[in-house]
Amino acid sequence: MPALSAGMEEGTIARWLKAEGDTVEQGEIIAEVETDKAVMEFEAAQAGVLGKIVAREGATVGVNEPIAFLLAVGEQQESLIGISARAPPGPSPAVTSPAPDISKPVANGYHADRVKASPLARRIAARQGMAIAGLQGSGPNGRVVRIDVERAKTSSQTEAVATPVARAHTFTMEPAVHADEGPEGLPYRKVTHSQMRKTIARRLSDAKRTIPHFYLEAHCEIDALLDFRGALNEQANGRYKLSLNDFVIKAVALATQRVPEVNRSWTDEAMHVFDDVDIAIAVATDGGLITPVVRQADRKSLSALSTEISSLAARARAGALQPHEYQGGGITVSNLGMYGVSGFSAIINPPQSCILAVGAAERRPIVRGDACVPATVMTCTLSVDHRAIDGAVAATYLAEFKLLVEQPLQLLA
């Protein structure tokens, strides 16, 4: 199991692209490995014959543990006798479907017993543990396509008990789901952890346990910013559409440029000080949280930021980010305002030292002089690592941020 990204400790074999006995060229992709955050391709380091696969699809293997044996030219298969395969956790898939009889060709070249299904439909069905054989196909020649599997799934969920079906093929891009019964007799379903889930759990436990957090809260009045945004979008002629979040990112970037003391990372040996202002953005995906990074965000225009953020977020949700796109970053911004959250405190995303939690823009009464007036207020909470940054520095930083969102013309300066 190669280390496919920095800090990778283990990986799961998502899929073998080669079978035992296949010839493998140097550089050829032989397997897909699911790592903390992505499914990555694994290239053969040298040519040979794939002798024995010891880590089956779904198996999780530590870095530098063997996953298969590659026979060099001239080496014999016999040299691998006694080596056994490692199967994925959970019940091993029982293959019960009879061998297809391929001796009965039917009209238009299809074999009667062969189930016609698109590659995608097969994959989704395998993931759901669903048999394709009984499904009504709505594609050409009765081909089972995605929608057939999805319809079947919807209708089966209305039944009280789902019968687990034997799977001829496992594909563990996403967690396999098993029906089970707990020790107290309460029914529950056991969902195998994905690599991503495990990584989130480990990193955030470490962060909450080891980083001495302190929290600063600011209530920012953003009516001017909203007017400014509206004016900009009106003049855009469709070339861009700036979101409130784009302004927040821009303000964080400029504040970081003005108070660079927060752009650093604590290690036991030394402080790591960053020159570039790289802002990580928390994006929720089906698999969990991921933080793509906007590099040198302080040097980018609002419209450029907006385009880049949408692109990163879209690709994050599609699972298509490259490692370099989510690694690094000096400060993270987590915005739950769109869910109506008034304010919250976030856990620092190590090895960074700050995370800004952004709440919803809400109409609230505020006191101005002796009068109570309505205003649009956004509560932002900065979580800070006290090992790296002291309270006064963090307060200056948050004040700078507040100034920038309350006087938004400065964002263009």
């Binding site: 698109s118 196909g137 594609g139 050409p140 995605r146 225009s301 385009t307």
Partner: protein, 728 residues
Amino acid sequence: MPKTRTLAPSSSWVELSTKPADWADAPPALLETMLSSMVLIRTFEEKVLDLAGQGLVHGPAHSAIGQEGGATGSAMAMRGSDQVNGSHRAHHQFLAKAYNFVAPDGLGHAQEFSPNIRSVSKRALSEILGLAQGYCKGRGGSMHLRWAEAGNLGTNAIVGGGVPMAAGAAWAHKRAGTGDVVFTYFGDGAVNIGSVLETMNLAAAWKLPVCFFIENNRYAVSTTVEEATAEPRLSSRGLAFGIPAWKVDGMDPLAVYLASVAATEHMRSGAGPTIIEADVYRFFHQNGPLPGSAFGYRTKEEEAHWRSRDPIDRVATEMAARQLIGDDALVALRTRAQALMDNISGELIEEHEGKRRIVPALWPSPDFRDFGIRGDLLELADARMVEQDEFAGEIVEKRFVDVIADVMDRRMAEDSRIVVMGEDVHRLKGGTNGATRGLSTAYPDRVLGTPIAENAFVGLAGGIAMDGRYLPVVEFMYPDFMWVAADQVFNQIAKARHMFGGDSEMPLVLRTKVAMGTGYGSQHSMDPAGVFATSVGWRIVAPSTPFDYVGLMNSALRCKDPVLVLEHVDLYSSKGPAPSGDLDYCIPLGKAKLLRQGTQMTVLTYLAMVRPVLEAIDRLGVEADVIDLRSLDRAGIDWKTIGPSIGRTNNVLIVEQGSIGTSYGGWLADEIQRRYFDLLDQPVQRVHGAEASPSISKVLEAAACAGPAEIEAGLRRVMADQGTPLDA
């Protein structure tokens, strides 16, 4: 009885031969260098044949043993900065020029050979054996020898194929005013091929300093010159084009030298090209160590007659008569040359288990295979890349064809290296469509209307590009003309960088317009993208808006690889978003543009199909990712945009306009199904034209090209085959 009047050609045609007084007057150093050069070449080629006989030369070994007089005689008339190229039989010409380059003060017959002579011989032999230390890192072998520094532009395995490129180099010399000249060598077999005759015409029309040097060795493989032409005095060809021509006895190196001096003088004076025909004889067969008589197409008597006229013996005899060399010294010269070649081959060949073989460490590494198919695009690293949605200036609606002329005008004003060429590009207010409007007025000497000879003028542009001092922008009036120019487009321009070792650049832009819908019929209505995509040296861009055209043309002009810029007549007259003022930004090569987002399918399209695709999905209410590919070559496919899109939609439709035979989408569909098989809910679907080429009849043309109806049918098919048919 009508009256006739005998007409005289406008150019001279003479036979030049030496008299005893010429030999008596020849400087001793000239004769000594000639002799030493020819002996070196002869022994080098004998070594090649020796190795070929042992099976150590992979591929052909076309020796020129017997023909050295032509190569050495002409090389002696050149200076270091003059250039040559040649054909499949060119070891002698390559070496004569290279030896001359490393020993500008001549070669003494009694001197030890210098390390430079040794190095030239060793690198040339290594190249012929296909080894990494060869001039082209083993890529070129015997037939593709290039050493630019010494003026060897690169030899060619296509008969006559290098001739247009030589004219391109000559064009650059003329434009730069250096006075340098180019000799392009080829044989009697090449005289009848279009590349040569078209280039003679073009070089004469434009007065280029190029010498068409014909080595008439009487046989094209086994076909005699008399069988191939009714006028076997091949220098006669010059009369048709107004090119002065000399015919000389190539077995007399001094005669060749004197003709070459006269020709060179003519060319340096600015008077235009020349032709020299040297009658020579190859002592061996086309290829390998057997004489031609062994194959029955010529007699031993004929071979003995020509062998008695050996050019080396001729010079040795004349020198002996002037007591410039004795028998012993001649033997010593040959012995030293043989020792040099033995010593060199001893470093390349070893004994292994009783057999001789190449020293294994000298082979190129197999992973060098694809290096240099194209450049690394570092030349674009500092370019200002701007997309329309981040453009700071004003966007205005402009006619597409006006923007084409505007950006070229802007670039030509900024960059005096740019030269535009093609049929009628200098007239008709900007060519047949106005795409070069105003350029010939502003830059009269840089907008060249060409004769109707695509193969010659695009090859000439390739020669200019490879020279590197000027930047050619070629227009093919219609894409189908690429077939007329196929050798230069696909064998020469596309392959040159890779074939010659991967380092030489080919910065050339080829513009052409797809003309489907104009009623020009079967031979003017193709979309060339599919064919160009098979030719991996080319980059291809197909802008669908004026804004993208500006950025992609600017990138194409910066790029050091040949770039095909596709245009479309439907787009010419259309209006689209264009920059106001700023014509200097670039758009990356290899970046597609996601124009619409949706979950039901990914539509991949380009050029004039982009707009009708967008209209069709709006009309049908399909939720589709629409991707304008913009870059179409294999290296330019933007998988970073396409892959995630297919991951979201799981269904793919490729839309193009042209007929299926030469269509573009086939290879892309293949690549998609191999990369994304498990993501697909149905086979990759395609919209393209019919099997027939479009006809002139309006109805038949419309039926042959894909249009809105076919796009709609394609969208409906993709929806139906994923189980969600659209309402009729």
